[in-house]
Amino acid sequence: MNNIDIEGLTRKFGAAQAVAGVSWRAGTGVHGLLGPNGAGKTTLLRMIATVIEPTSGSLRLLDRDPGAHAQCREIRRRLGYLPQNLGYYPGFTVAEFVEYFALLKDVPPNRARAAVAGAIERVGLGDRARAKLRTLSGGMLRRVGIAQAIVNDPLLLLLDEPTAGLDPEQRVAFRAMLREIGERATVVICTHLVEDVAAACSEVALMNAGRIVFRGGPQDLVARGERVTGDGGSGDSPLERGYTAVLAQARR
């Protein structure tokens, strides 16, 4: 089953077209969404997160239509989302913040506490559960964001720049967690960090100027880099070379 089924999706903000006819299908697994700044990744992710509606095209998530209110609610109950800029209430504790979103995601109140504790443990913040958010570092806040995203055991997990601010050790642990979640859910990571994609993703989509210009496995992207290195691909790793090569080709 494709948890994400997109066909000809567009989104305009005034005259600017942020997403220009994207078609994409994604099933269970960890999917990387790569692309330069302004490529439309975040806009696409916000549409998949049901935060904004597409201007045109078709979008089905978890085999439901997010345009229909009741179905949208069903999708959201199974959705985890970490936005690029995580807002938070500084007076809340870690546990309270995660519980707040657990309740909003329809986790039954009698199970919420356990779900919250589990999510906080999974992101390694068990010892800071009662700390106020205003006292946490940027990396810890990012982990709080991840905890709230996974608190409802989502079938569709959308993470926008999830590893920003995480130290290498945390990043390694995070990738392991993603792989674990990806065994039964669809995980989409929107990132600039190709090493995250290389380590955690089973599939990669590369966006440029509102369109998906590459789709395949990380190895396919590496192969594209090796094939066209002489043709504009650059970077320190094979994946980076593949990334830049595909972009260079798309911009031509």
């Binding site: 199974r78 800029n85 807002g87 938070y88 209430y89 007076g91 909003l104 995601k105 039954p108 055991d153």
Partner: protein
Amino acid sequence: MSAVDTVPQRAGRPDAARSRLESIRILLRLTLLELRRSPMPLMLPLVAALFWFDALRTGENLPAIWTQRAAILPDHVLPDLGPVAAGMAAWVGGREQRRGIGDLAQSTARPAWLRRLAGWGAATGWTLLAYAACTAVIYVLAARVVNWGGPPVWPVVVIGLAVAAFCTTGFVAGAVLPGRFTAPLAALGTLLVTVMIFQSAVHAASGWVLISPDNSVPQLDWGVFHPVPPDLPIVQAVFLLGFVVVLLGVLGVFSSVRGAQLRRTASTVLAAGLAACVACLALAATAVRGNYGFDISLLHDAASDRPIPYTPVCTQGSAIPVCVHPVFSADLAGASAAFAPLLAEVAGLPGAPTRVMQIDNADLPLPDAGPGHADFTRFDAWSTLAASPGGAPVLEFGFGDPYTFNMPGAVSNLRDQSVPLVIGHIVAPNGNPGPAQQAVERALIQKAAGAPADPNQDPSTPPPTAAVAAAAQRFAALPSAQSHAWLVADLDQLRSGQITLEELP
């Protein structure tokens, strides 16, 4: 299997009742979270300072009467607390946008209305907690000085709802128009409402403006002799409740961009609140100032006008006791002193009042108005002579100012009214006094009032002749004991016109 999938009712179409119940449980949990972490307590020091500076200090100087002390709630607590609460609530209402939570919150299953209701509930909860504390302080301090009656409930309810309405206004403003200026504008706007609109309603005697929760300065003895009718407070309370419901409906409509059913529910809530507000405005427009408060004919229960039983407090050991309502026991000495010269002159005389009794101001006939229209805006005190159920004369009086007996002018006015009444009744009970009766009247009035009788006071009384004036001067010059003894012995003959001017001592 996901956490949300583990609940059986979620697998299929959830039962509507269970779904509603769970929504309520989630709302309660969210509200508890919000209550714990709401920034609303930050307003408490400011509210406490305003409360102490304004409400508390003013309250200490008010008469020790429950209705007077309860008037602090609309007059001071509401303007002190309302604008601050509105400002803070606007700050809380705009928090989601300000903190950048919007995207994250919008991607959740529960509607925005629910989470905003939780935020509103917490903001209103803290505001009402602050209000409850202010009310408790006022009522506890009042209970220490008020010696009769019980605390009125309606002012607490109405102003509580008004405070909630202020808070809700701020919250909805913040949620609908999030911005850095929304909070100060909400505080300023609600302050202007209290200062301008409410104050313009203070002296209104009728009309829809009475819907204002701060619409009246209660007269001194409202709620003392008769209960204050609950007509207007009921209408005000329902109006304020309707107003809060309207605002929550607006919040719902604004929050339910997606979801036709939610929008319909929110619109229904809005319409219901609006209907309540319109109905209450229409009812308030029919309110009129009655004897004991404001009456609304559609709601008025005549049974509520029954007098409240009480045992008067009277001077002890005097021939003619002076009695006041126990609420005014502190005024007994003043009242007794005001009537003392008169009572000293007439005690023991046939036709003298058997007692002097404070009555409900509403039952006092004023010179230019009939009974039941006592309005002490022009008169500090007034008196009248009435007959007790047994037929014995009773001098009745009332006063509308708590400082009446400390004001020489007011005391003098009271004597000027009561002395001719009583003395006229004793000397010439059937009216048309003869020359000797006129002379004795003038003499007694001069002795009892401490000043010569004003010949223009009663237009129906002809000006005295020189002979009458001379006889009056002669009688007034007698020692009180001698004139009193003469009256005891010869009053019947004087009344029947058998005594001439020359026969007066």
